[in-house]
Structure formats: C-alpha cells, structure tokens
Symmetry: C2
Subunit: 429 residues, 2 copies
Amino acid sequence: ETDKPAVMDEVLEEFGETRLALLLEAMPIDERMLRWHSIPSEEQAAILIEMRGDARNSIIRALSPEQLERLIGQLDAQDLIEIGDSLPQSVVEDALEHMDAEQREYFERSLQYNEEQIGRYVDHNLLMLPAAARVQDADRLLRRPLPPYTDSIYLFDRSGRFQGTVSTSQLFTLPGHIHLSTQIDEDAEPLSGEAELYAAATAVQESGAMALPVVDEQNRLLGRVTLHDAMVLQQSHFENLLMARAGMNEEEDLFAPVLRSSRRRATWLGINLLTAFLASWTIGLFEATLQQVVALAVLMPVVASMGGIAGSQTLTLMIRGLALKQVSRGNLVSLLKKELGIAGVNGLIWALVIAVIASVWFSSPLIGLVIAIAIAVNIVAAAFSGVMVPMVLDHLKIDPALSGSVILTTVTDVVGFFVFLGLGALLLI
Amino acid sequence: ETDKPAVMDEVLEEFGETRLALLLEAMPIDERMLRWHSIPSEEQAAILIEMRGDARNSIIRALSPEQLERLIGQLDAQDLIEIGDSLPQSVVEDALEHMDAEQREYFERSLQYNEEQIGRYVDHNLLMLPAAARVQDADRLLRRPLPPYTDSIYLFDRSGRFQGTVSTSQLFTLPGHIHLSTQIDEDAEPLSGEAELYAAATAVQESGAMALPVVDEQNRLLGRVTLHDAMVLQQSHFENLLMARAGMNEEEDLFAPVLRSSRRRATWLGINLLTAFLASWTIGLFEATLQQVVALAVLMPVVASMGGIAGSQTLTLMIRGLALKQVSRGNLVSLLKKELGIAGVNGLIWALVIAVIASVWFSSPLIGLVIAIAIAVNIVAAAFSGVMVPMVLDHLKIDPALSGSVILTTVTDVVGFFVFLGLGALLLI
C-alpha cells in the first residue's frame, strides 16, 4: 500500500527519484499536481525525467510559464533531450540559451540520432584522459568524486578520436609512470551511436562492464551507456511489447485525462471494428444457412475462440522471439514446421472433443463433423498465420506486437466462419 | 542474421555466454545438440546457466550420464540452485558431494527461500571484511582481482552479522589506519532474503550502487544482487507478463518438442473452450430469436469484439500497473472512475457509429438501436471488469496476467450476447 497519498510526505525523504516518479504516476491528476508542488523545487527536475511521457506531460501542461522556466533551468543537455518532445519549441530554445557551450554541443550531437538510436540518449558523466596520459594522471582523477557506475577511463587521441577503455581496478597495482595506452582492454568494444536502443542495452549487460562508451561515425566519443540506463531501456522495451498488444505504448498514463485517453483508445477500437465487420460480412454470406440451422450460430464463438487462442499462443512466442532477435529467416522453416506440428496435434484433439460435445448438444453427428473440420482447419491456419504475419510485419518494419493480433484475429475469424458456415451449407442443408 | 547456424563457430569466439545461450535457444533441437557438443566443455556450464528453463532441459535430457556428470562437476552452489529443478534428485546429491563445505552451506542456505524470493538466487562473489578492519586491509583486498560489479566492501561483526557497506571509491583518499566501520554508507540498506525477485531488482536499480547485500532474518549476510542480475530478473519478470497473456511462461522453448508443447498449450485451449461454450450457451438461450432475425447472428462478432478489445485495453493497463506496484486499493476508485469515463465516451461514440452501419446494412433502425445499446453496455461492462477482475485476482494471489483475459472474455462475451440477443428478442419480434 506504499502508493497511498497519505504516506507521500515521509516517502519523499526516503525514496529516490525513480520511486517518486512511480508514485506520482499512480495518482489521479489533481492529487498528482498537489503532491508535485510539495516537492522541493531543486528535486523536481530529476523526478520529472524519470516519469513516463504522458504522466510527465500532464505535469508540464499544468505548470505556469514561471514554474516551467524555473524547472527547465535545472536541466542539462541529456535531460532536455529526454523531455524535449513534451516542451514547446520556444521553451527548448530558452533552455538552450541558458546552457553553457559544452552542454549545447552535447544537445546538438544527440539530435543527430533518432529516437530509436542510442546516440540520442548517452550519458556525459564519464572519466576521459588523453591517450598519452599515465597511471599517475588516472590516480589523480580517481581521487575526486566519481560519476556513478564508473569502472573505466576512456582514452582519446589528439583529434578527439576514441582510443580505448582502461579498467580502473587494475591501476592501483601499477607504477605511476606507465602509459595508460598500454593498458587498454582489447575486449571492450565501443557501441555505435546508431545502435538500436535495446541492442545497446543488451550489449552493456553482456559486456560485464558497468558502462560502455558510445562513438559516432568518426569514432569520436559521444558519451556512455551505464548498466542502470541499460536496465531502464530494457524495461521500456518490454513495457512497449506488453502494451502494444492492446494498441497502447509504455508512455500511457494510468491517469490520463478521460477525453485524451478516449481519443487514443478509440483509434484502436475503430481498427478492430473493421476486423469485426469483416467477420460479420463473412457470416452474412451464409444468412440463409443460419436461418435453417440455427445451431451453427450458437457454435460460432467456439470456432472463432479456438482459432484466436491458438493463434495468439504462436504469435506471442514469435513476438518474444523477434524482440530477442531469436527469430529470423534462418530458422523460419523449422519454426513453421514445429508450430504446424503442434497445431496438427491440438487441432485433432480439440476437433474430436468439440465434435462430441456438439453432436450430443444438437443431437446431430453431422454438426459434430462440420465443427470438427472447422476447428482443425482454423487451428492450423492460426499457427501458419501466427508465424508468418509477425515475420512479414517485421520485414516491413511494422511492429508485430502492435498490429499482429488484429491481423491474426481477422484471419482466424474469417477462415473459421467461412469454413464452418460453408461446410454447414454444404452438409447440413 | 546473427542467429544463422552457419556463423555459430565464429560466434563462439566472439560472444559471451548470454548471447550463445540465446543462439542455442533459437535452434531446432537436433541442431542445438550438434552445436552444443562443439562448445568446449569448460564453457558449457556457464552457457547452460544462461538458458531459459525449457531449452536448458532439452539439452540436459539429451546428455549421457557421463556427460551430465562432467557438466555438473563445473557448477557452484548458485549454479546448482539455478538449474537444480531440471536435474534428477540423484544428480543434485552427487553434485553436492563434490562441492566443498562452503559451497554446500551456500546451497543449503539458498534452499531456505522459495523460487519467488531473492534469498534463493544471491551471488556469493563479494568482498567482505570484519568490522574491525582498517583502510589498509581494504587496500590489500582491492589489489587482488575483484569480483565483477564490485563497488563496495561488506562489513560483518564477530557473530557474522552484517554491519554495513563501505564504498571502495572513497578509500583511496583515506589514511591506512582509519577504521572501515567509521566509513559505513548509512543510506545503503541491505535487502531481506525474503524480498520478492522483481522488488529486489528494482531496489538495486534505484540504489545507485552496483550491487546490494542480502541478509537473512538474523541479519547474517547471505550474498548480494548485482545490477547485472537485477537486469536478468527484470527481463524474466516482463517476459512472464508478456507470455502469460497467452497461457505460457518465460521458460517456454521456441523449439520445444511438438508433443510436449502441444500438451501444455492444450490446457490453455481447454480453459478457453469453457469460456467459448459459455458464450455459446448464452446464444443458445435465444435460438428462436436468431431463427427469426438472422441479422442478429451476423452482427454478433461486432458486439463481442468491441467488448473484448475495450476490456483488454483496461486489463493491460491494470496488469502493468499491478506489476509496477502502481495500482492498489488506494487508487482503485479513481481508476475505476477514469476507466468508466473512457468507456462512457467510447461506448457512446461507437454505439452511434455501429448503429448507423447496422441500420443501413439491414435497413432496420430497430436493429441499429439494439446493437447500440448492446455495444454501449458491453464496453462499460468491459471497463468495469477490466479494473475489478485483475484487482480481485491479485488479492487472491492469482496471476492477473495469466487468468485475467480468460475471465474478462467470458464477461464481455456473455454480457454482450445476452444484452444484444435479449434486446433483439424484446424489440425485434
């Protein structure tokens, strides 16, 4: 019950920005603003950065121009990139004018990369030394307060090009005059600024280091990605996968204003309505049949549901596989075989079970036969589309987590109803 | 295309265990075993540990007793806990006999905690010193090769109780005779061994440290959780959320044997079949009506789909909110109000749109009226259940991500068909 508003004040003392951001997100907007204003203004920027986009926007929209200006004054280049999309252009320009030249340069460099590239979101708090530096120079650097998650010093040459990473932990055992360039860790590969966000996060996780350097095309150091940031990127990647299945994204606010949310969700309902009308249209082809054999109408949900569920199992496995880069053309055929195999087994079993139930319910073995064939065909069609639809979407650079289920449902509804009612028309009349 | 088998051999040189584990998972079982045997045996254990449960089991099942024994010989206590469930009891006992007393003790201690508690999965590679130690002792410790992700030394007293955390980065500036106990970081709270896995992962992420110590009820140090492990736990948490929506879990193997997969998925299909038959039974109540007004049968999928989609949007938002601990009784009423508000707006809009289409299609304003009411009622019922069903399931300690959608679909199908066909019976005949 930690997100009860009553405990917010004590919570302010005890938790970090991430937790506070989560708490604010969990509050209705009026209460959120009330609590927001009780946060000391020097802590507000850090908390705002941690919030999900829509919830953050709800706060920015409610601030007066003076409050917004004070808040923006606390942002560095990385923060401004992070929340820039939520801000009016004039406010961003204002903020840039108040930054020093270095931060402005960081900002410009980040903007060279798009929202799916790690170069846009690098951290600039890091230890750097010229490649000609010695262990004693590093020692001096390490005696000052360190940026969090620091286990390396990055070396650069005279033209500013990245030369390599030196692990700090080995330096204590070395004499001061040794050149750092002789201690470069050859295994530590820098990330390209163009690397996709989740791929960058995974690379940091696998590196065993606390952070990886990020370089541009000319091999100049852009910044770094820490393991902490990698964890944030991973979370947002998976939240997007989760939310996409219902036509939303991870920025969705638990307490977005009703009209704003309604508009967004309406789009998704509209898209799915087209699917539903396609299914209706399919059924409409068999109006005469339905009038004569009303049992077919009664059993329609069973045909649609079994196809839909079987398809969504395959689709979910594929969406995870694509997200983890485990699925590609290289193993597509094997996957298809396996999923069709499963569909064959389950299609057969459930066709039999449902046939028996339907035959008894409507005292007609023929109805049992019709639904058995429809179920078996639909489960196999579901498996086939469950594999192929996300592959094709991925190839077309359309998010399979978002669009996959709509298309799949269309297939299983239309195929299911067509086979079921079509066979009904042929065999039962 | 990095997961093509052809590149596996070069890949072996270049990637770490995590990447190799992902690649093996992405291969059909025959190929997986072929590649497995081409991995140097001293690297096999580390890769196996990184694999998801089902894929790991596929390898263990295929090993000869001798191969298994050699593999098990490489495991430490933490590894054995991790894969113990995949192993026959006799093999676990054998492995324990070959461990030294310290590792055996680690193993026993881990087993005090269940599979949802962090105490079971702690890392034992850490720096520890008695609370009476001085900076010079720490210096000596830090000159040896360090465990990965080390930024702290943990202090313990004479009875083995955890005393606190000393950050290593500040030690270089201090004279050697200073007692470490004067340098304890008061903000660094240890985790309880009973902490839930994802909560522990989040705590590590928020701490700003590279790892957090984990203690038992007597405040004895059990081990630590690194930021790397936190990232693995976070991933598995979100993968479970994703997979649960289709009745699977994150251990699901992309290439599980067909019969094994079929059996598991059959369970989920069977559960959903009950839902579908409930919907059929509801329709069956109105057989006479359907026979007279076959347009109702044609439009049924629209009613069911709009309810299902609206419900799944609310449900998805709730599932994420519960997973992030953002939803509780404290904000339940506000959430319900907001979701019902959205449902009101979208219910009204789509009821009108669909009413117009249906009226024109079947040249009957009354059919338009009937479906309008059914759509509006069903979208509101979907929002209400979308909020309440996961709350109740969570309260009953049933995973809402797994069971929520089945129950929700039952509600939207039954309510939708009942209102639609019931009104049809009243108004159209």
